[in-house]
């Protein structure tokens, strides 16, 4: 029997919640080989064993199953409301099956929304039309609250950081963000970064950078060299896994730039924990969703 879109999205959630991406697992393995203390080694051993247990048992990698954020890339004239509805139904199912925690709170009343769904509002869905696309591609990211709380937005110039409106100013912001995160956001982390944009665009683009594989680098030479430099320098801070000290504080730095107003120069950092759960799938839509 053909799988519905809801079935396919539920499969994607189950995969994403329980399987750490291969590149992240490889980076943690390298970090383990380079561990500088017994505490650092113990933490990384636990993370790797946990990754194996979660994958084998199809149970959540992390109990904070995060904000489910879908990035859909769709052919022209796709019925995006149908995709949103399918994502909502998939989440209701995934939550009932214990793949997702009851992780959604009504901000005003404090009540738990046990399905994790509010039609039209939760989950977060972004749609982009690709004129050349014949099929729907969807990337899902699950980012938890501990790391989300460590995300930052700087406005340059920032005199307390000695950060001007140039790439060295950006470097200072990124090192500051990595330092502030300490062990609160479950280091070793990944920085998704947007330079420029307005404040809202900055956070969106920064989060999207977290979808890039760890071995990917910016096509802009200046940004690519900044990515490498900040990664190297942050890993000399000695914060280490969980902030207990050690050699690996960040696994990656991914930077993009957007246009800005003359008056504004924002540096936006989406801090993601080591459990950066992201996967991409192409949906079988039987002649399209329209």
């Amino acid at each position: 029997m053909k799988q519905t879109i809801t079935d396919q999205l539920a499969d994607l959630i189950r995969l994403n919640t329980s399987s750490l991406p291969d590149d992240i697992e490889r980076a943690l393995t390298t970090a383990r080989e380079e561990a500088s203390s017994p505490a650092e080694a113990q933490v990384l051993d636990a993370l790797l064993e946990n990754a194996r247990l979660a994958r084998d048992g199809a149970t959540p990698v992390c109990q904070d199953t995060g904000t489910l954020t879908f990035f859909f890339s769709v052919p022209p004239r796709t019925d995006v409301d149908a995709l949103r509805k399918a994502a909502e139904d998939a989440i209701v199912r995934a939550t009932a099956n214990g793949w997702l925690r009851r992780n959604t709170i009504d901000t005003l009343t404090g009540a738990s929304i046990d399905t994790n769904v509010l039609p039209g509002e939760m989950p977060v869905c972004h749609f982009r039309t690709d004129p050349a696309a014949k099929t729907v591609t969807v990337s899902l990211i699950q980012k938890g609250g501990g790391s989300e709380n460590m995300s930052r937005q700087f406005s340059l110039p920032d005199t307390t950081l000695g950060a001007g409106r140039d790439l060295d100013g950006v470097r200072r912001c990124l090192l500051r963000a990595a330092w502030e995160a300490q062990g609160y956001g479950c280091a070793p982390g990944i920085l998704g970064v947007c330079i420029g944009g307005d404040r809202a665009e900055g956070y969106l683009v920064a989060k999207e950078q977290l979808l890039r594989p760890l071995d990917d680098h910016s096509p802009t030479p200046d940004l690519s060299s900044l990515e490498h430099r900040v990664l190297r320098e942050a890993n000399s801070l000695g914060i280490g896994p969980m902030g207990l000290g050690g050699r690996t504080t960040l696994l990656g730095v991914k930077i993009a730039a957007r246009l800005r107003l003359p008056a504004s120069y924002f540096v936006t950092v989406a801090y993601c924990c080591w459990a950066c759960r992201r996967h991409t799938a192409t949906l079988e839509t039987e002649g399209g969703v329209s």
Binding site: N50, C62, L244, C273
Partner: protein, 192 residues
């Protein structure tokens, strides 16, 4: 590896030093944001936590038969409870806190004064931690706080953790924070 078992004695807790690797067994209760605020607002703790352990944790709990299966569990960021924790340690007679990221000066002082330690569990290692939970003894405030924020009573076996803050005023996180701040300052002086 040091074994700690409930009920935790003051002697066992005061023998621990920041950086020690431990395994916790016996009864552990969870309590996070809602739980701490409830106590601070004058609420009564539904479980006896004297010589007990409080875990900053919101699990993935799945109803199964008459009970619950804990599919995933792990520490949440502890610093959010800093405004409440010193008073909680004193009032409930806690000996062990389990969480992630460390806490502040008031909690460190309460640990020293009343004989309590802060343990860093491995953040995000939810499948591994769930394996250490052998039994759900009970759950409190399920309706009021929801399953994630509820106060769960668990029997655990061999839950791994590192002593982050001991009962002698030693704080591993503060040490790392200070050393990394010095390094950050040095990086700030490097050429663009």
């Amino acid at each position: 590896m040091i074994e700690l078992r409930y009920p935790f004695t003051e002697t066992a807790v005061r023998a621990l030093r920041a950086g020690d690797v431990v395994r916790v067994s016996g009864r552990v209760c969870t309590g996070r944001d809602r739980f701490h605020k409830f106590l601070a607002d004058g609420g009564t703790c539904p479980v006896d936590l004297r010589d007990g352990a409080l875990f900053h944790c919101g699990p993935v709990a799945v109803p199964e038969g008459d009970g619950w299966r804990i599919a995933a569990a792990g520490p949440t960021t502890s610093i959010r409870e800093e405004p409440y924790e010193a008073a909680t340690i004193e009032r409930l007679g806690l000996r062990v806190l389990i969480g992630k990221g460390g806490m502040g000066a008031d909690t460190l002082e309460a640990c020293r004064r009343f004989g309590c330690v802060y343990l860093q569990a491995v953040g995000g290692a939810a499948a591994l931690t769930a394996q250490r939970i052998k039994r759900v003894i009970g759950v409190h405030f399920l309706q009021a706080f929801g399953a994630t924020e509820a106060c769960w009573e668990w029997e655990v076996e061999g839950l791994e953790a590192v002593v982050g803050m001991d009962a002698h005023g030693e704080d591993l996180f503060a040490r790392v924070r200070e050393a990394s701040a010095a390094r950050l300052e040095a990086l700030g002086k490097e050429e663009a």
